[in-house]
């Protein structure tokens, strides 16, 4: 499963980019493991994963047309 991941806020300081393409990602647990292996600094940072604009809390299978985003704590307003 190939997934495109949007990256926001302070997480972009770690990744250096706001979009990332990853391969062989069948579910969100694999996504997190893969991200942490590429960017170990992410383990020091709190973030949530949004799948199709909803924050998910448990491992979720990724389908073809998923919209994936990494969200650090919000600081709007």
């Amino acid at each position: 499963m190939q997934v495109q991941v949007m990256i926001f806020g302070q997480l972009t300081d770690i990744t250096g980019k706001s979009e990332l393409m990853l391969y062989d990602i069948p579910d969100t647990d694999t996504l997190i493991r893969t991200l942490l292996s590429i960017y170990p600094a992410l383990s020091d940072t709190k973030f949530a994963i949004a799948l199709n604009k909803k924050v998910i809390r448990e491992n979720t299978l990724l389908e073809g047309d998923n919209n994936i985003a990494l969200l650090p704590p919000f600081s709007g307003g």
């Binding site: 926001f8 302070q10 949004a50 604009k53 985003a69 600081s75 709007g76 307003g77």
Partner: protein, 160 residues
């Protein structure tokens, strides 16, 4: 006034309705706020307006003094979330209308980055709805503020 529609169509699927945009580039000018107030003079059932304005503070931090905040958002998700907040607030309070505007991009210290405006026949609903909307949008909207220091270094805003 379009929000009245939202109130009466709670079972409509989100995908069938386009959430209202709340984002605009740069600071929110005082003249825009005045125009928004002025537009309500034709709505003669309104007795009270409550307005909250967020202004960028020149905070003194260990990394220097904040001279501006650069806002980014996951816009699609933020607009859907704001739409849900709006529906909750309209279901809870007898509002005539609600308007929300949030800046994207750079807003200098002293400038306005958030404008929440609620109106109702009696003051209590407008005031309570405004406060609850501000609290919810700060907690729930995927928006991030990058504080730009006077030496052009940056740090990320943390909401209280």
């Amino acid at each position: 006034m379009d929000l009245q529609v939202g109130k009466n169509s709670k079972n409509t699927k989100m995908s069938e309705r386009k959430p209202k945009n709340i984002f605009s580039k740069g600071p929110i000018p005082a003249s825009f706020i005045a125009e928004s107030i002025q537009k309500h003079s034709s709505q003669k059932a309104i007795g009270g307006h409550s307005i909250f304005l967020g202004q960028v503070r020149a905070d003194q931090t260990e990394n220097g003094i904040v001279k501006a905040i650069d806002y980014t958002a996951y816009e699609d998700m933020a607009l859907e979330k704001m739409h849900l907040i709006r529906e909750d607030i309209f279901a809870k309070y007898p509002l005539t209308c609600m308007h929300v505007h949030h800046s994207l991009g750079e807003v200098a210290a002293g400038e306005i980055c958030l404008f929440v405006f609620t109106s109702s026949a009696h003051r209590k609903a407008a005031m309570d709805a405004c406060e609850e909307t501000v609290e919810r949008l700060k907690a729930e909207l995927p928006v991030w503020g990058r504080e730009i220091m006077e030496d052009d270094s940056h740090q990320w805003k943390v909401n209280q």
